[in-house]
Amino acid sequence: MQPIKITLFGDYYDCQLYRGRLYLWTFDGELQIYDWDQIIDKVVERNGDWLTFLYGYKDGRYLYGNKTKRLFEDDEFKEIVLRRYLSSCRQKFFLEEKDIEDCLIGVQSAPSSALPIDTEIYNNTLYYSTEKGLYKATAHRPRSEKYKVSTKAQKLWDARILSIIANDYPQMALSAGSDGLYEYRPGGNCNYTLLNEIEPQLYRVSEKYSLFSNYIFESIFSSSHNGNSYISMFKLYRDRKSCFHRVFEKEVEEIAFSEEKSKKDALLSWGIRDKVYQATGNMVRVMKYRKWKENSLADRLNSFGTLDLKSNSRLIKGSAATFGNILEYEDKLLVMMSNNEKFVLPEEVTRWRIYPRSINYLNQLHVVLEDRVEFISFNHDSFVDQMSKLNGIEYYVPTSTKARSVYADAFDDLFS
């Protein structure tokens, strides 16, 4: 099943989707903030199917609900839903900026008047990096406020940060290229034994080159070209007062967990949550990272399978979401979907965003292109066995009652 696409034409540079608001940076230096649900309702009003757009764009979590899964075990029900998805996949949904004027809830100059190198929104705060440094500004401000993102950004650090990635704990991995890998901890206590605090709440994790990075549970996978990736391993332990501490353990270079004979055989590696991927000439080696194995790296990281990878162009970036593996090449974007289908955007991309930490948008891929943004919704993954899939990170159904009520029960309740 191929994804559903909504195309918005315009001259954009970056985007973020957070708590029902779409943030679009224009090349002219504006930040436009839209009501996301209203945009989706507008598409549905025109010719979209409410069911597929509800699951596909507003509440991606619903398809993972336990009771929903039971409904899909009914072939008749499943056939009806799939038919509606297939119909939406075949349609084209085009929007111009004027079509969504009434969904606009704020326009302002882009923070720091810059086209950001990277952005991340976490805990109602926009973090962004420019050539002048790393900044944060309050975001998701009430509609009554003139500026939905504070115009009084706070500079956190002078360094040029290439990639900002937050996890749930909360920590933020910061890749600073030749300046190394860093971590910013917005709040709370944490024991960072062995790490240098170079600015308030900002720690140097490694001096080695870091092109981009991501969290593999409590540790950080730092990616770099030509086999120079590494894992900065952290360990969680609980003290006598039942408080959790996260302590830096050691750095493990890629060659230590690679089957390749030399660094240069590995093109690019990336890791996120439970998966580590290592691309070589014509294949991707998949490794499973196990959170609760607390001993050696060999216990935590196990071979899980291989994937074919054939392309004449150069692979430059990778990441994974529940719906699959996202591979950026110099001249295209490839999604190796978790059902082993492929989806290709055959042109060079300006930016792409996934939202693996999100509750509602975990199935979406947003791609900024030369003249438009594509909002792509993947809806196949809830039909895929989560434990055995090679492409994409595993979807975890939270086990606690409280957590389940947040993640999946809303949809279940509709059918109970």
Binding site: I117, R160, S178, S313, E330
Partner: protein, 143 residues
């Protein structure tokens, strides 16, 4: 090539601009320096074009040379023999002469062209927005 320093100058906006082609960036085998593969005259031509286009931010500038098809030409080689297509030019604050080298923005974050310059390149259709974004993030792009 012997260690000869070539000196050039031109007038821009009624001001003399001086350029020195450093032999350090022409010594093959120097493990710490990228090297030009274009001639000193071409190196200067690249700088002059860069300066006249005002791809300058304070005491730094970035430029390139195009072939007849409008594609970036290879200006030099990096420390691992990689092809370099962007040049960085610098001037010490108290000096009058500029100098430059073919830079590897992927290896050194301080070599990444300034956003101001990149935006000008996009506006002139020399690079696409996608290439600007990739250069900002020190990712490879097909210039």
């Amino acid at each position: 090539m012997p260690d000869i320093q070539f000196a050039y100058q031109f007038i821009y906006d009624k001001t003399e601009v001086h350029y020195l082609s450093s032999p350090k960036h022409r010594q093959i085998g120097n493990p710490h320096k990228s090297i030009w593969i274009v001639t000193p005259d071409e190196e200067f031509g690249c700088f002059k074009y860069t300066y006249e286009k005002q791809w300058v931010v304070e005491n730094e500038a970035w430029g390139f040379m195009l072939n007849a098809n409008g594609k970036f030409i290879v200006l030099g080689q990096g420390l691992n023999n990689e092809e370099l297509k962007i040049a960085k030019f610098k001037k010490d604050p108290n000096a009058t002469e500029w100098h430059g080298y073919p830079c590897n923005y992927m290896a050194n974050t301080y070599d990444v062209p300034s956003d101001t310059v990149l935006k000008k390149w996009v506006s002139l259709h020399r690079i696409t927005k996608a290439k600007m974004s990739k250069i900002q993030q020190t990712l490879s792009c097909n210039l």
